[in-house]
């Protein structure tokens, strides 16, 4: 069974702390994504990566950075956590169809989410 695993389901951090959210997938997917989910705002794309060491900004990258040193792992980093970063964070992955990169046929598989509270 294919899986996207997020290392922590619940985290509580203090303002100013550095926070690492880890995501690992075992499907050999090229694409990996980080979203944050807030009530009424849906899923907003923070960063995504389509290859090792490659990263692209989504809609709300401010205050976040990412790291992809290995294909299976995509980390989200909050350099200095703030209370407005309290949220549910979802990681997802998908195949990259090089034959038809915009075919839209690449279904996203999500992790269970990491709920971060910043005090």
């Amino acid at each position: 069974d294919v899986k996207v695993t997020q290392s922590s389901r619940y985290l509580v951090k203090r303002t100013g702390e550095k926070v690492f959210l880890e995501c690992v997938q075992d499907m050999d997917h090229e694409n990996m994504f980080w979203y944050r989910q807030d009530p009424g705002l849906g899923l907003r794309l923070i960063y995504f990566s389509y290859d090792v060491k490659m990263k692209e900004k989504g809609d709300i990258p401010e205050g976040y950075s990412v790291s992809r040193e290995k294909k299976e792992r995509f980390s989200l980093i909050l350099e200095s956590a703030s209370t407005n970063q309290t949220s549910m964070y979802l990681c997802a992955s998908s195949l990259l169809d090089r034959e038809s990169p915009f075919s839209g046929a690449n279904v996203l598989t999500f992790g269970a989410g990491s709920r971060l509270t910043v005090l």
Binding site: N31, L43, L45, G104
Partner: protein, 109 residues
């Protein structure tokens, strides 16, 4: 770049029908639909790849109007198991994948 969904929330009785709409300001290559139950990861429902394409799964179907940059999800004769938050997802150039604002659907007995 985030698609907009409507309505934001809907409550249905078992057996009633519902329509969820998804609109984008950008040209759409495709539209995906996902459902998320409380406390769980979103799961894939269906993809629509071509303008005008309609797909169905059980009593859930969807249409895609490429010209209007819109998609609609139709839930017919709703069941309790349909409860959850529904998201449309759209693929943009550069492998970016954006989700909509979400629609909370509650089916009551």
């Amino acid at each position: 770049q985030q698609p907009v969904q409507s309505p934001q929330a809907v409550i249905l009785r078992e057996g009633e029908d519902a329509v969820i709409n998804c609109s984008s300001s950008k040209a759409l290559y495709s539209v995906h639909w996902y459902r998320q139950k409380h406390g769980e990861a979103p799961i894939f429902l269906m993809i629509l790849l071509k303008g005008g394409e309609q797909k169905g799964h059980d009593k859930i179907s969807a249409s895609f109007n490429e010209k209007k940059q819109q998609s609609s999800l139709y839930l017919t004769a709703s069941q309790l198991s349909y409860s959850g938050t529904y998201f449309c997802g759209t693929e943009a150039a550069g492998n970016q994948f954006y989700f909509g604002t979400g629609t909370s659907l509650t089916v009551i007995p």
